[in-house]
Symmetry: C2
Subunit: 335 residues, 2 copies
């Protein structure tokens, strides 16, 4: 008999999460039925979307209901299986939730390969939706060519930091924009960016002029608003702008009006929004490059691992307090 | 001996052109030297850019100098030739200027084919840069598919009217936006648009909602500003926006700030500016479709022909007074 511990949603949180918003419960798991398997969670991905799922309004997924186990993406190991698709020892990625164990028929779960030299947690980031976002946004829409200038906003973020490194691998002059001197130093000193601009202390327009003496060929857009106007004023002919996010505009009452758009005609600029889900059918294409880059150390990816299922609510809060440095992961068991 | 009449620029015009801004001169043409040919102009294309060329500031071409013959695109017939590339009777398109004749070594001129059933003037429009702009902007960037909804702004303009008709040929539901009821009636009654919106008398946002019940898949952008915001609010997933012009923004002191850009992420919109010059190497591709469409009557193109070289300054003014209905052409001789 296996005992399972889990966090169930107890109330609709307001602002920061507290332990009172969840109920810590223990239950004895039943025997497996035909087609089922028992998964032991090892890693729980802590994502900003998790917080949105606790609200009463549905997002791109239905809201988590009061009394349900808190939803989260997890990686777990199959401990027992009466399911034909998965066998004992397989590592599975799926919506395993904030709990130690779960019994499932395996629908919605996928087996993740164990890659010598790469931690399982890479599947939450570099080989997960973050790596895919960076890879396809930059290569499919940005189409970088050797010697071109790439500017990345939110460059120290999970996606931005990978975008810039791929840009360097592809031979670009890479300039990142971030919000602290420490982040800027990380970009240039550890990730190999050619330059980094602290948008909180520098005049971004002038700094771009200085660090992009040949103009801007690709702008990987995570921020939007005034930053976009400053970049558009300096783009080269046939510039590409993959639009991954416009985070400056999500929580403002009065949206910023972008004024420099006519330049996209004279400069023949392509500006294109994308969502990583649209590229999931091409995931093997990305693996074929991302895995060797990661194994060779050309591509660095920062994870921030906390431990202990019982700390889940407080750990999720770190995302909103700026307490994490890299992709936030909660470890709840041994691999 | 051939006598040539021409208009030379006499002064930098202010506002509307007057005959005093030009000097009417007659000269006797010299004998041809080896490599030269004598061209007799038949049609002069009257374009908004002509007016800009009379100013002292250079544009994408150098300013016309005082004392020079006024520059303009023309179609002429070779009357005598000591040039290997061109023979007597050839129709040539090039910068022939506001004059009856010119002697040239042929550089910068191209032979235009005489197409049974199509007037020579088609080379100024449908088969010239206007037709190419509509063709490549819509097909190369807009990539229309049967059953999709296409919205065209400045739809009664030279480019817009062709865009909408090609959209119909490609099986789209086509909605045009124009500035008078008469233009709207022309779009729906004569050109086969499914609907037309008078932006001066209708609420464009609501009218688009009504006439685009399945949302907007392609927006051929000629206008920019608030119109773009209204369209972005109604685009479908994977919409394409070929950006040909943003004429609402060219003469304003305070540019309009476009606020709806974040939607290009969630809707995965592609917005791409272009200039027809970039497509000139692919002109045969366009001819292969445009010529049969024009010959079969599927594609209508309106020209407005005035006559008489001596009227050139007053005829050019028509462009700015709104006096022309269709591409403005000055006929100065017989074909």
């Amino acid at each position: 008999m296996t005992t399972n511990k889990q966090w169930q949603l107890a109330a609709r949180p307001e602002g920061r999460l507290t332990d009172d918003d969840f109920t810590w419960t223990e239950e004895t798991l039943p025997e497996l039925q035909a087609g089922q398997l028992r998964l032991r969670n090892v890693y729980i991905s802590m994502d900003p979307a998790n917080r949105a799922w606790t609200n009463s309004a549905d997002t791109y997924l239905p809201a988590v209901q009061i009394g349900d186990v808190m939803r989260a993406t997890t990686i777990g190991i199959v401990e027992e299986s009466k399911n034909e698709r998965f066998k004992v020892g397989d590592a599975l990625l799926g919506m395993g939730g904030w709990q130690e164990y779960l019994i499932t028929d395996g629908r919605g779960f996928q087996k993740v390969p164990s890659l010598a030299g790469l931690p399982l947690t890479a599947h939450f980031g570099l080989l997960g939706h973050i790596g895919m976002t960076a890879y396809f946004g930059l290569l499919d829409i940005g189409a970088p060519k050797e010697g071109e200038t790439l500017v990345v906003s939110a460059a120290a973020g999970a996606v931005g930091s990978i975008v810039g490194q791929i840009g360097k691998i592809k031979g670009c002059h890479v300039v990142g924009i971030a919000g602290t001197d420490e982040k800027c130093a990380w970009l240039t000193d550890e990730l190999g960016f050619d330059a980094a601009i602290n948008y909180k202390t520098e005049n971004v327009y002038k700094a771009l002029k200085k660090h992009c003496p040949n103009g801007i060929d690709i702008y990987f857009e995570n921020v939007g608003g005034a930053m976009l106007d400053m970049v558009l004023a300096q783009v080269n002919d046939f510039a590409r702008i993959p639009v991954c996010g416009m985070i400056s505009q999500y929580n403002v009452k009065e949206p910023y009006g972008v004024k420099a758009l006519p330049v996209i005609i004279s400069r023949r600029v392509k500006m294109q929004g994308f969502i990583v889900l649209d590229y999931f059918s091409r995931v093997q294409e990305a693996y074929a490059e991302l895995i060797p880059w990661a194994l060779s150390g050309q591509l660095q990816y920062r994870v921030h691992v906390e431990e202990g299922l019982e700390r889940a609510p407080e750990v999720l809060n770190m995302l909103f307090d700026g307490g994490n440095q890299g992709k936030l992961i909660l470890k709840v068991g041994d691999e």
